[in-house]
Amino acid sequence: MIDENGSRDKKGYEQPKVIVISLRPEEAVLGHCKNAGGGGPGGHGCSHVGSCMNQGS
């Protein structure tokens, strides 16, 4: 950004930070059932053909 005197603002130095972002692999892999009861994604899959044992996403 250029100020009224024509000089460019310098952004202060920011030390790099390590940010931890939590992954949930059991949710990120397709194929898990939303509900044990058979609703949601895989509704048919859970109750009809592809019964899920795991709950996820």
């Binding site: 892999v29 397709l30 194929g31 949601g40 994604p41 899959g45 053909v49 592809g50 899920c52 996403s57």
Partner: protein, 311 residues
């Protein structure tokens, strides 16, 4: 007789006279079979039925008497319903279910680009079931998401998307338990928006704009719509003591979105394209951490925020 195509996936034989087409996330998929039974769509997919003269993905269905596991080691194990192995350039997905014992109830052979696939149904386990939905979850979702990721066209995210009559498209990403269903129900009861999905949304970029697409793979509130909407921002849900939005730096936004998407973990190229796509998304719209309380005031906070940004 089936014709062997250059891709290694059997091409469309003349006998496959029946076809059903769906369009999900802007990707058209044609399911072809020798009888109506082989192209039957589940209730969820019926809402996404579409005409497609030149489908992006072609899937031929055939029956075999028995399916057994392949001898090769899986390249990827989903831990639940499917495993992936390789056959040359082909990806081979075996789908299993405790209901059907130890053998796959269907197998999906796909070419490397996920443009051409064959779905093989196990007669031993499925023959007596009626109806059978060959494209049934998660085969449909795997085809669409792998196609999108493989071509760098988009990504499926874990979130609820809705179209408010006044505000337009809104997307709230979140892990399980983050408040997607609560948010969906709040908006539905107070503003009656069109809900594209309460669990899974597809994101794509068109002409420098971010668009979201509803999917048939809904959550516990069972909202699913084939509608689309342009997005001006993305919210990532977090439970909080009060309602507040905090804009994320792009690098963190890419990471947080990646943690809430469904990338093809079995494909290095697909993973790379997914991250590249998310990086492009953050260059188009800002991403906010939305700390919220599960109350109607959270909805008002979003409306106020929208007014401030629009005003």
């Amino acid at each position: 007789m089936l014709v062997e195509s250059a891709s290694g996936v059997e091409g469309t034989p003349a006998a496959l006279l029946y076809q059903s087409c769906v369009r999900i996330g802007g990707v058209s998929l044609a399911l072809r079979g020798a009888s109506p039974r082989e192209v039957c769509l589940s209730h969820e997919l019926e809402s996404f039925r579409h005409d497609c003269e030149s489908p992006n993905i072609e899937v031929n269905v055939k029956w075999v008497e028995k399916l057994r596991f392949r001898r090769s080691n899986p390249a990827f194990d989903s831990g639940s319903l499917w495993t992936l192995s390789r056959d040359g350039s082909l990806s081979v997905f075996d789908f299993t279910s405790p209901s059907f014992g130890n053998y796959p109830y269907k197998r999906l052979h796909s070419d490397g680009d996920f443009c051409c696939a064959q779905l093989v149904l196990n007669g031993e386990t499925l023959r007596n079931l009626n109806p059978v939905f060959p494209l049934e979850y998660p085969a449909d979702e795997l085809l669409i998401t792998n196609y999108l990721a493989g071509h760098g066209l988009g990504v499926e995210v874990h979130g609820c998307g809705l179209i408010d009559a006044e505000v337009g498209g809104l997307l709230f990403l979140g892990h399980s338990g983050a408040g997607k269903s609560t948010t969906t129900k709040l908006w539905k009861s107070l503003r009656n928006p069109e809900i594209l999905s309460d669990d899974r949304i597809i994101l794509r970029l068109h002409n420098g704009e971010l668009w979201m697409y509803g999917t048939p793979w809904h959550g516990e509130a069972a909202f699913a719509s084939a509608a689309t909407a342009k997005l001006s921002r993305i919210f990532i849900l977090q439970h909080g003591e009060r309602n507040e939005m905090v804009e994320m730096p792009r690098s963190r936004a890419v990471g947080e979105m990646f943690a809430r998407c469904f990338p093809p973990f079995h494909s290095a190229a697909g993973l790379e394209r997914t991250i590249e796509f998310l990086n492009r998304v953050t260059g188009v719209v800002p991403c906010y951490e939305f700390r919220f309380v599960p109350h109607r005031c959270a909805l008002q906070a979003v409306l106020d925020f929208h007014d401030r940004r629009s005003g």
